[in-house]
Symmetry: C2
Subunit: 211 residues, 2 copies
């Protein structure tokens, strides 16, 4: 699939399940304590450095969570239906349609980027371009927190995600791409699935754009 | 060194630097945000399950932090001088002298165990005995959070810690010992050193005693 075709497919897939998706995952408290802890650490580090972009924000629940933690948070999503839900649920916050491959944000204009499972549908060969874009919009010293499906296998593998094909990444492989993109790793975490989740580990990497 | 000789050496070493040590590290805010986040996640998981033991509590600053987060926290340390400082700083909390090799706690009597850098001086061959003791005192379903010096090398290596010889552990190796001891891993983290720290990664493992 070409990159534009992949984006169109992802947009359509999320548009078609937006309301159900928002009901199922649009709740901060449903995230396990260690995930909320990582979000809190990210908010503490990124918030003072400038606006915080929740990229692939879906229904905006994490955008609102970051705002509640003191960040000047705003959301961007590929899916117009998701943006509509986010605006309705959080009318005081800013939500824009947009793609992580070409963000309508100036160079160095944000203090933090949250990408919570928003690169999971990106074909592996397209990920460096996305990470370069995240690096571009981050201010020097700004932080990136990225969450994704992990893997105990050595290679990147596709799997049948409920919405559209997704990829699970060995933590080392994802970390190497961030390093290649110019980020300095601050912390990496692998957490085990909790009850009700598919039997895959979850990867989180907190990284910084060097000053 | 025999185990009792090692314990005596560690006790003496910490007794001799207790006041300075308390001044240097006895401050929760000096821990980076991701470390405080892990402590918060641990408190949320362990607190509701019963009393929480801060083993190797030093001057008691993390015991007090866990108490502030809602846990029924108490501290245990090998060093009488540390216990004296902890009691003076936190007169409402309980602090006891004791060794992680033979805790004066009943089987399954605590909902959580925090071991924050308190196994770092344990010779590697003695660690399984300590982990078995932590497993013994934890209630089924209880959580353990363990913090230690990490390593990018494949083997466990001693290094010259300021107080007395310490060991740095590859995350995988430490995780394997926890698995051997009967714990179920919930999450593992490696974080990079921050300014002012020695150039070693830091390992954290959150694990659960199965029900």
């Amino acid at each position: 699939m070409t990159a534009p075709a992949h984006l169109a497919a992802t947009r359509t897939a999320y548009d078609s399940v937006a309301a159900l998706y928002a009901e199922l995952v649009g709740n901060v408290e449903s995230n396990p304590p260690v995930d909320r802890a990582m979000l809190a650490a990210f908010a503490e580090l990124a918030g003072p450095a400038g606006p915080v972009a929740d990229l692939g924000c879906g229904p905006g629940h994490l955008t609102a969570h970051l705002a509640a933690l003191g960040c000047a948070a705003f959301g961007v999503d590929l899916s117009p239906a998701m943006i509509e839900l986010a605006r309705a649920a959080h009318p005081r916050l800013r939500f824009d349609e947009g793609s992580m491959t070409a963000l309508d944000l100036a160079d160095g204009s944000v203090g933090g980027v949250l990408s919570w499972y928003s690169t999971i549908h990106t074909p592996p060969e397209g990920l460096p371009e996305v990470l370069a874009e995240l690096h571009r919009v981050l201010a020097p010293g700004g932080h990136l927190l990225i969450g994704f499906f992990g893997s105990d296998e050595p290679s990147v593998l596709p799997f049948d995600h409920k919405v559209t094909t997704a990829y699970r990444w060995p933590l080392d492989r994802f970390a190497a791409l961030l390093d290649d993109a110019g980020f300095a790793e601050a912390a990496r975490m692998s957490r085990a699935p909790v009850d009700g989740e598919r039997p895959l580990p979850h990867g989180r990497i907190l990284a910084r754009k060097p000053v």
